[in-house]
Symmetry: C3
Subunit: 154 residues, 3 copies
Amino acid sequence: MGDINLRVDRLESESSIRRLVAEYCHGADKRDIDRFLSVWTPDAVWQMSADVSFRGKDAIERVVRAQWRAFAQYVHWTTNVSLVVSGDTADGECDVAVLVRLHNGRWIRSGGTYRDRYRRLDGTWFIAHRDASIGFDIDLPAEASEVPERFDSL
Amino acid sequence: MGDINLRVDRLESESSIRRLVAEYCHGADKRDIDRFLSVWTPDAVWQMSADVSFRGKDAIERVVRAQWRAFAQYVHWTTNVSLVVSGDTADGECDVAVLVRLHNGRWIRSGGTYRDRYRRLDGTWFIAHRDASIGFDIDLPAEASEVPERFDSL
Amino acid sequence: MGDINLRVDRLESESSIRRLVAEYCHGADKRDIDRFLSVWTPDAVWQMSADVSFRGKDAIERVVRAQWRAFAQYVHWTTNVSLVVSGDTADGECDVAVLVRLHNGRWIRSGGTYRDRYRRLDGTWFIAHRDASIGFDIDLPAEASEVPERFDSL
């Protein structure tokens, strides 16, 4: 069965990581910048597509603030959290149901999968890498005319 | 790392509270009154808005039964559960995707956030306070003509 | 409080079962047959309705492959996981939000509840029985003309 302290440590790590996954959403959706930034390592990477990614909290803050300007409301509901913890690193995959409300009032549904790498620094777990590049549209995506121009100026 | 019994106790508490959050939905949506009432402390408060709340199991039962009359079906899908356990009390926040089917057949989507206080009594965890006042509409809310009059007679 | 090893074992079992519930969805939705089949016991039963069920991995593989042919995309978002672990068996109930995209592009929403029995074999947890018979439609279900004929030839 292994050492009891290590077994409990692994369970505590899972608990902390599940909380990170939730706090990312609460921070993003309630537009609480401190809460949102608290989930990332200082040098975390937020990957948006195969060739677009943002590294570090300053860049991550710029991106989330641009999303907040672009959409009147942003909703992330995560599910199917599957974690593998190994010492001070962990890998995870979860699905997310996404809703955005445009400034013209239209709601748009989409979905996706987050592929994550977590890291423990000084006893606290953080998201070190979130690949948010896998997604699909359900409703018609926002057209250029429906989104403020400044969305692209990250 | 702290005492192993306390660490395991905290993890068991989290497990119990996650189950409470799920059982609330199963009780409400499967219309099983015993299951629904089993999640609350005897003097629990179910807060609906800044100035409307219901205290105690009798009041809570009246409210949920009124909801069951008002809607042909009620669906609660909770996500983003974030818990902080401290001894025999705990605080939690989770999001909820809500679907209701009106008696005329129309489905309405909404969403919200539950802010909870949990309490352990004689070794069992319960919801002591659920603030369900934070929400938003996705589809057009039910009009008065779409809901039975008795919805308001809690 | 009970023996610490047994208490930790129960928490580890819950962690493993939550992962099973997630992996079922990742396997089904990402169309990864090995991942999907890995969650089931060799003699597992996948119950579709009161009188239709499939036993064993060969039958389960035939069913999921027929679903993959029938729908251009299949999405399962599970929530409200409620588990009771007892030694090497466990019972669980969870809700699921389901989205399918037909080959004609139409998206259809439905919902349901999984009632599960899990079993531990040689230290690893599996789904032994999943009753997926409880469900409801939100949007108009797929008409015969919208689904390939081969959907029924499991």
